[in-house]
Symmetry: D2
């Protein structure tokens, strides 16, 4: 991903650029994982016990996509809104990670997706801290 | 919109269905308004003072889209996540409404969009109350 | 929906405005129907035979969302691109309608969604004709 | 990105997996570049001549997002639809690349975005060939 290059070439770049870029990339990766995991679940034989996993994957994918887009915008930022969206993203990733963890022994895609969601939840938390401390 | 018909035909429909449907429809309407207002702003002669309006329109459109999708899902709901996303949506709509209100005297599309955002913020708040009271 | 109001207040509005507005609204309605139908399918007992329906619903929802956004933009339009996206949307709606039709006897949400997809496919076709004839 | 890992862990993986993964990753990268370039343009002093660039960036971002999602799904694929969406994506990337190329001397973000769009157009074309040849 060349997110760092793009965001650093903005006329008014963000101060904690590395934390921001890490979060955008984590959100994009997590969106892809969740779309992919929902679809892999849909192709499994034992579909019945994967309902909740598919549903949460779909939610998490949408939330991550919106968060990545909002964070990619550096013109006239509104941190009250970014914080709220980051918070929703952190929660979506945590809940989805827990659900996927429960299927990790049976489905490798769930294990990979759980790791992805954990990483994204952490990236959101780090950016939230950085924004709260006002170093952003 | 036939959102009410779709959501009522779900095998496990939501209790406060009218409040839910009103919020989904308000989010979809607001997404369209914000995409449209950003683009109308982009076509205006006095583009310079519309930067913040365009940016907030784009954020609001993305947040509304994700909120509408999450709320349209009634299988295995996770209200902690829905509340967080509804909160981000309420904030996005309020901030965008305030910005658009400031341009309403010069641009009719900003006036229409501000009304749209106000309605969506209220619909989110009503659904949040209904969820908090546990009647959902 | 107040799509007509928004699109008519654009500084450079589209000529065949009614056909355009009808298509934007059909796409938004179809996105909601497909997100909702995928989730309703996920809540059904006989989930096994709904795999293809869920998958096509998800594709159709994403394609409709992107088409609605592109068509809502009237600044510097690129009709070669709009035509290609409208064509993808028409195909997505047709394939999804056929699949949902096959489940209409068992699931009312599939019947409603099939009607929605048929309407959207027709709205895309009408706009495509209007664009091809150059009256746009 | 761990797209390759996710897509290879699908219960029914795609034959030309490398070509598919390359295209999904190119679409996600291009979505991020286009969202970011639209926003960087919005922060530039000479905004007036960047209208078309912003508009095409927004279209390209949406088309790439939908294409990445559709291609990430391997359950019950419908290649007629995938081909049409890939074609729209290829066109979106080409038009956006040409526009961004025209601003590359003045704005580094436009140069980076143009490269990104060119790469994505090529990845779409390669996948389209692979699908047409029936090796998929």
């Amino acid at each position: 991903m060349i997110t760092h290059q793009m965001l650093s070439q903005h006329p008014r770049p963000f101060k904690s650029l590395d934390t921001l870029v890490a979060c955008v990339d984590a959100c994009l990766e997590c969106e892809q994982c969740c779309v992919s995991c929902a679809d892999a679940c849909l192709g499994e034989q034992q579909l019945d016990m994967l309902r909740r996993c598919i549903r949460l994957n779909l939610d998490c994918a949408d939330v991550c996509a919106t968060t990545a887009r909002m964070l990619s915008r550096q013109t006239e930022p509104e941190w009250e809104l970014s914080r709220a969206q980051l918070d929703a993203c952190r929660i979506a990733c945590q809940i989805c990670a827990e659900e996927c963890d429960g299927h990790a022994d049976h489905h490798e895609h769930c294990r990979t997706c759980a790791d992805c969601c954990h990483r994204c939840a952490e990236a959101c938390e780090r950016l939230l801290s950085s924004v709260h401390e006002g170093v952003a």
